[in-house]
Symmetry: C2
Subunit: 513 residues, 2 copies
């Protein structure tokens, strides 16, 4: 792996040079170290009420754990009240188990400079996860294919404000479902050197993902560190099926990480109340965290939350509305009280295209996610149409804004240089600071330069063809794909990965479900 | 005026009914009462440093007060150190003067139900102010005319989340500059019943505005209440010209309100540092507040702040970037420490059209403005192109998002109904809450319904013509203008206003500067 580290460092040098040319210095660390406070949206009394409600759900109502006898055995052995498939446990017991999960951990990348620290004051951004469709300005909307998947992995690799690859940047619908996970995991390992996730849809697919991580990182690395994680949804309300428990057993069993995410549209999978839906999500995720710690104490666990509202007129899911904005802030507070890393939010929208609606909804969703202190932000770029579609242009545009959030998270210096008293000795009232020594000294690093924003006057903008943001982003993703260079990989490791994928594909039947 | 109040109440009944049809109940109060905490972005030490820097600027560097001998006389009489046109005063003296300004006051509207409370936990949204150009999808970009001005006043009246009319919704460039203020102020008084601002560009124009307010509201109202305000910029850095001091003298002299706004692009009108620019803005606005209190102790004063950054590549002003987002949060903290109402932020962008860039920049700018606790938000809807252009569609789209912010500002209930325990007795794990009693009980008021967001599936959206947000907004403003009904006005009052305007127009020469 040492070879990778060295060449990786060279690559990053080149990337940084490119970034400087684009005028965005300093926004491409492996992850964000937050320097600003958290937003205390809900008061102590409200937070305690939400925790009491979660405890009530866990202890009195209970959660269903279905289709996995081993999960029930584990709960029974731990002393939980198991009644058929209903599992109840006191809040204290669940909290004690949650306490063994690390509040902060590192997911190693094959390029060590891209390893991410998850939890505490750190924030990690990853792209959209799961859409069966893709859309771009040239070809419109169509089913995602492996070709698109590889494009999107390469773009994620090239975009400095995406720290992590996620996994299902789109569904590669031209590959049988039974084999898809192999191509997806391989693509992230081969065409990017950022950390990424593994499959969860079936136990064997999770096992394949961990096996591939062992080939890429080495057996020892996986014994000592988190190199791959799964991201899995509960079946809200209050049902945890085998997809969840088996994913936990595979990933945590191998000392790897798991992220469990109650996906709740208030009014459907939870009560039509933001507070109740938050408490329910908390209960579901806490029970899964406790379960992960019963499987392997100390295994990395990310408390997930994905809450949204719906249209009162049509019942359609809505995104970026004030209710999920509120839930981002509040779940951030609750996760910190539990001491667990948090996944929530993202650049979410119900819009079909990257228009004004999409940007308003995505921005309100994402700025609140960032202010809320979410440690791992899946869906931070590229999401369209309630998660059904990955937008090429939207990926570029969202990623550009992520750079702005990183600058905000760095806080505001107030040292002597920042206070600029010498500038006032040089510049008279009604004068200007454009050429003064303080400006010359600080100009290059003073402001975030959004590469997708056009701030020129209207005449220059019209001369260049009156291109709107989508059109500029369309040019940009093509440039990025054209200038893409694959990160180096040890040929022996690559061959071993290819062999593994080929063997498993031979063993598995073609299945489309 | 009683007649107005009564008919006004009838009108509001109709407006509310329309709102309910659109599915946005409860988002159209006269102003927002904030129920959530403020965001403590900067720590105590940083805030003290900024205040010390402001004191240093006021006491050691001093501000220029030019072209208004009366202003210098007032400062001298108050004991300030006046050296030529340079005025210096200790921070303590300035703070003591600022303390006589009300921390909260009411601006009365001609419809009393639309009077706004400014300061404390209240927030008031007003549209764009100042653009010489207008743009819509049908006619593109052109100079603003009186016809556009009246359209925009009517739209502001019709949009429930705009609480205040502002003044210069666009420059009516077809009316001589010397007479423009009369037509603008009259349009707000006649075509809307929301509160609005008066002119400031010349002392006589400010006087005309106050005179017209006396006609509309009655002499007594103006003696007792704030019925009109001026909004004026300092000439940063550190210059206060007669436009500012004379506006203060006219408005505060008549016991009306004034809002003084240092407009600083960091690196040009302030040092290339967010912290230093904030401190400078604070010093400039505090000196003007102190001056307003020397003119009339207790006169309503709004501490203004308008800070932005610039492109490192071109030097062009940028908007919605992380540096002004930070400044919104910090100036919010500083204004609260001073106990003064604050104007800052808005839905700002450098984009020429209402595209993804415009929405990202506007949203980050506006959500931070709202979280920062800005009491009066001018430029909250319709701003394009760095303030050079008013967008018809953008006005509609921004106003729709303002409704979402109002829901967020109302906070999250955690009462028994919100905790929905009865729903869990009715809904089994893996079931759904769609038809349960709790949902039926709460469905209609549960979520914000964004009227400009399309949350339907892609097939329905395509069937309706694949309209993006701008196209939907284009339809909406036409509908709103078509269904517009003027608020009733006492014919005698209207005639008196028309006579005043006609007389002043006869007295004034046509001038285009």
């Amino acid at each position: 792996m040492q070879g990778n580290a060295t060449t990786g460092r060279r690559r990053r040098g080149k990337t940084s040079a490119r970034l400087r040319e684009r005028g965005s210095p300093g926004v491409a660390p492996a992850y964000v170290k937050r320097e600003i406070p958290f937003f205390p949206f809900a008061g102590e009394e409200a937070l305690v009420k939400l925790e009491e409600q979660a405890d009530w759900l866990m202890q009195e109502v209970g959660l269903e754990f279905r289709d996995d006898d081993e999960a029930l055995r584990i709960w029974r052995a731990a002393g939980a009240d198991v009644d058929g498939t209903r599992v109840r446990a006191p809040g204290d017991m669940i909290r004690a188990l949650c306490a063994t999960a690390p509040s902060e951990f590192t997911q190693v990348a094959r390029n060590p400079e891209r390893s991410v620290r998850i939890g505490g004051g750190n924030q990690v951004f990853a792209p959209v996860y799961g859409p069966p469709f893709v859309r771009d300005l040239d070809n419109g909307r169509r089913y995602g294919a492996m070709e698109n998947f590889v494009d999107l992995v390469k773009l994620t690799y090239a975009l400095p404000s995406l720290h992590h690859g996620g996994l299902v940047v789109c569904e590669p619908c031209d590959v049988p479902v039974s084999k898809r996970h192999l191509d997806m995991v391989y693509a992230h390992m081969r065409w990017s050197d950022k950390p990424h996730l593994g499959a969860i849809t079936e136990m064997s697919r999770a096992e394949d993902s961990v096996a591939m991580a062992r080939i890429l990182h080495g057996e020892e690395t996986l014994e000592e560190s988190c190199a791959i994680m799964g991201n899995v949804n509960t079946n809200s309300p209050l049902l945890v099926d085998k997809v969840v428990t088996q994913s936990i057993r595979v990933y945590c069993g191998a000392n790897q990480g798991i992220m469990v995410v109650p996906f709740i549209l208030s009014g459907a999978m939870g009560p039509v109340s933001t507070a109740a839906s938050i408490a329910q999500a908390l209960a579901e995720a806490m029970m899964c965290c406790a379960f992960s710690q019963l499987v392997r104490p100390g295994a990395p666990f990310i408390l997930g939350n994905f809450l949204s509202s719906m249209s009162l007129k049509s019942g359609a899911p809505t995104f970026g509305m004030p209710e999920p904005v509120i839930s981002n802030f509040v779940i951030g507070q609750l996760a910190r009280r539990l001491g667990l890393p948090l996944r929530c939010g993202g650049a979410l929208t119900a819009s079909k295209v990257a228009d004004y609606q999409a940007a308003c909804e995505s921005s309100d969703s994402m700025l609140s996610t960032v202010l809320a202190g979410a440690h791992f932000v899946l869906q931070a770029a590229g999401w369209l149409e309630g998660g059904l579609c990955t937008g090429y242009e939207k990926l570029i545009l969202d990623a550009d804004r992520l750079g702005a959030y990183q600058v905000m998270l760095a806080g505001m210096p107030v040292d002597d240089n920042a206070m600029a008293r010498d500038a006032y000795a040089e510049v008279e009232p009604a004068g200007h600071f454009l050429g003064c020594a303080h400006t010359m000294r600080n100009y290059e690093t003073a402001f975030y330069e959004a590469s997708m924003s056009d701030s020129d006057n209207v005449e220059s903008w019209e001369e260049r063809g009156s291109m709107d943001a989508q059109m500029r982003a369309n040019e940009r993703w093509k440039q990025l794909l054209e200038s893409y260079e694959a990160p180096p990989i040890d040929p022996a490791v690559n061959e071993a990965l290819e062999d593994f994928v080929a063997r498993r594909k031979r063993e598995l039947p073609d299945a489309w479900y």
